[in-house]
Amino acid sequence: MMTSQEKDISTAIPDLRDIPADQLATLSSSVLANSIALYRERLKDNGIPLSSFQARI
């Protein structure tokens, strides 16, 4: 069980909130490239899973 003293969880999404859009191309960050590669890999493996629910009355 985790406690609130534990470290925050590092995620797979690069934090681009303060990065100007026109500078993304020039930054050539490995974090960004890795995240995109990971995301595309996931998409290739899973497609776009749909969580659908059907109830009949």
């Binding site: 069980m1 985790m2 406690t3 609130s4 534990e6 470290k7 925050d8 969880i9 590092s10 995620t11 797979a12 999404i13 690069p14 934090d15 681009l16 909130r17 990065i19 100007p20 859009a21 026109d22 993304l24 191309a25 930054l27 960050s29 974090v31 960004l32 995240s35 995109i36 995301y39 595309r40 998409l43 290739k44 899973n46 497609g47 776009i48 899973p49 749909l50 969580s51 659908s52 629910f53 059907q54 109830a55 009949r56 009355i57």
Partner: protein, 585 residues
């Protein structure tokens, strides 16, 4: 230097436990804005060449960068559009397939953000179906059949092609208050208000990138139909705000688009969420206000988990498809986790709703829902944990949600509700076993030989029972419907019983009438006397046995149903199924 979004442990825990934590929802929403920026960057790298589409994308991207630099709120609105996510995913899929992506559509998205903010611009935008779509706002009807038109705004007026001009403040979604602008069709907007809490959401009936669910989007719906949806949302919203405030606030913040779906029949309720379009949910017409409220809770759980799973890997591999107590088909681990999480919200909803209802039929419905989904949630998490498909974070998440579910499950329910819930759950499980649990032919042959020779059932029997979709055909859907009708539509059920027109066979009628011993005998006769396999009768017999005190027969039906069924088919139809069940005991 670029770092990654960090998720506070408290937010992770709050999400897993379905706790009231606005910061947790905000963390997911912030990450989604970055995710969309990331996807835009990936698309920008591919938008090369002189064709109209990539050229329009580059011009739009440049405008987007300027908007973001000067009006971050307008840029965040764009980045938060589910429409953007839907389109971006389509682009990535086209890249994987090597087919042509619709780069030009991004010009429409950026134009929408610019128009909404009154930001001066000039862009070439694509025309599709004689429309220029401005996602999140509506569409502009275009004369003739051009492929592109110029759309611009001087900070006061929006001009489109050579036929459209209007004040940018009037290019808005349609909230039903009138004031039509020629050539402009605002996306229908729903504004639901209750006890000071307002939820604004779009009823999206046009955007092709949000028409991505298992059922088609309801397009071209009439003004009367739109008003009907608005009224239903207002009613459902009042239920949520008054009795499920924990869900209402986050839903108001997190669901900006509802896609109405066209179901296969009027009695189907289908709802869905896709991780491609964070902030959007889809549903067919909800038959009543409480069902709508539950659907919103249900789908918002999926929205949250989709957002979390973008950030943190919870499922490593899908492994073998497994049983989900709420689905007809075997599910991968990620799908089961989604379902379990959705049902945590559902259990929390019915835990409160059962005390809100006052009409006996509605109380029964709420109690049975509550009694059914709590144990189902627990079973699903147990199944998930056994798969070893979850990452350490996934295991932690599953255990937290299971613990929260158990807190609810420990609450009392009426005996009638519990019995009905257990029977409906058993029907689902038995039907699923017959449909999807395969057996090994050699094992069946060996067991048949042992049975014929009068040998005891091997004690060490651990037959392989791989799961495969639809290995046997079952046609007991009508009995299942009637079993559920007892609590989903009890008035209709009573009516059918009184008229003597329950659409069921003799054995099923005996079962429903509570004539258990006669039902057991009738199912046995059906199975032993028929020249054809009788899967529906096997399920019925399992249900009837469950109404008797616990027995070894009952246990064999709950765990060895598929194996007994296949053995019986090999042995010949005269064998009494209870003899076979007794042999396994």
């Amino acid at each position: 230097m670029i770092t990654t979004h960090m998720l506070p442990v408290t937010a992770f825990t709050a999400l897993a436990e379905c706790a009231d934590d606005p910061d947790a929802i905000r963390s997911i929403g912030d990450a989604q804005l970055s995710k969309h920026l990331m996807l835009l960057h990936a698309i920008a790298e591919a938008a090369v060449g002189d064709d109209d589409g990539p050229a329009a994308f580059r011009a739009a991207y440049e405008l987007f960068a300027r908007i973001r630099a000067t009006d971050p709120g307008a840029a965040d609105w764009l980045l938060g559009l589910p429409h953007l996510g839907g389109w971006a995913h389509d682009c990535l899929i086209h890249f994987e397939r090597g087919s042509a992506a619709d780069f030009g559509h991004f010009a429409c998205v950026v134009a929408a953000a610019a128009v909404r903010a009154g930001f001066p611009f000039e862009l070439n935008v694509p025309v599709q179906d004689a429309r220029v779509r401005l996602p999140g706002l509506g569409y502009l009807t275009v004369n003739g059949s051009p492929s592109w038109i110029k759309l611009s705004c001087d900070g006061t007026r929006v001009t489109g092609g050579d036929h459209f001009e209007a004040d940018w403040r009037r290019i808005v979604p349609d909230d039903g208050s009138g004031g039509a602008v020629p050539f402009w069709s605002g996306t229908p907007m729903v504004r639901a208000v209750a006890e000071g809490l307002t939820w604004n959401t779009l009823l999206e009936t046009d955007d092709p990138y949000l028409d991505r669910y298992s059922l088609p989007m309801s397009r071209n719906i009439s003004v009367n139909e739109i008003q009907r949806w608005r009224d239903r949302f207002q009613e459902g919203w009042e239920v949520l705000v008054r009795h499920h405030r924990w869900a209402a606030g986050p839903i108001a913040d997190g669901i900006s688009v509802v896609v109405p779906l066209t179901p296969y029949s009027d009695t189907d309720l289908v709802s869905a969420t896709t991780p491609a379009a964070f902030g959007a949910i889809a549903t067919s017409w909800p038959p009543d206000l409480v069902t709508l409220a539950e659907t919103l809770v249900h789908e918002f759980q999926h929205v949250k988990l989709c957002g979390l799973m973008d950030m943190v890997t919870l499922v490593e591999s899908d492994g073998e498809r497994i049983y989900a107590p709420w689905r007809q088909d075997p599910r991968p681990a990620a799908g089961l986790l989604q379902g379990a999480y959705a049902h945590l919200g559902i259990v929390r909803f019915w835990a409160a709703q059962r005390y809100v209802e006052t009409e006996p039929d509605e109380v029964l419905r709420a109690q049975v829902h509550f009694a059914r989904w709590g144990p189902a949630l627990n079973l699903a998490v147990q199944t998930l944990l056994k798969t070893e498909c979850l990452t350490p974070a996934g295991v932690r998440f599953a255990k937290l949600l299971q613990a929260r579910g158990r807190e609810f499950a420990s609450e009392s329910v009426t005996a009638e509700a519990r019995a009905t819930a257990e029977e409906v759950a058993l029907d689902h499980w038995l039907t699923w076993q017959i449909r999807h649990v395969a057996t090994d032919l050699a094992t069946v042959a060996r067991l048949v030989a042992a049975y014929r020779n009068g040998e005891p059932c091997p004690r060490s029997l651990q037959p392989a029972t791989p799961i495969a979709e639809d290995v046997r055909k079952v046609s007991s859907a009508m009995r299942s419907r009637v079993l559920s009708m007892r609590y989903l539509a009890p008035a209709r059920y009573r009516e059918l019983c009184a008229d003597g027109v329950l659409p069921l066979g003799h054995a099923d009628r005996l079962l429903l009438a509570g004539n258990t011993d006669a039902a057991v005998q009738a199912y046995r006769d059906l199975i032993a006397g028929s020249a054809q396999p009788e899967p529906d009768a096997w399920i019925g017999l399992g249900l009837a046995l469950h109404r008797r005190p616990a027995s070894q027969h009952r246990a064999a039906f709950a765990t060895r149903m598929a194996l007994m069924y296949d053995m019986h088919a090999r042995l010949g139809q005269q064998i009494d199924p209870l003899d076979l069940a007794g042999w396994f005991a």
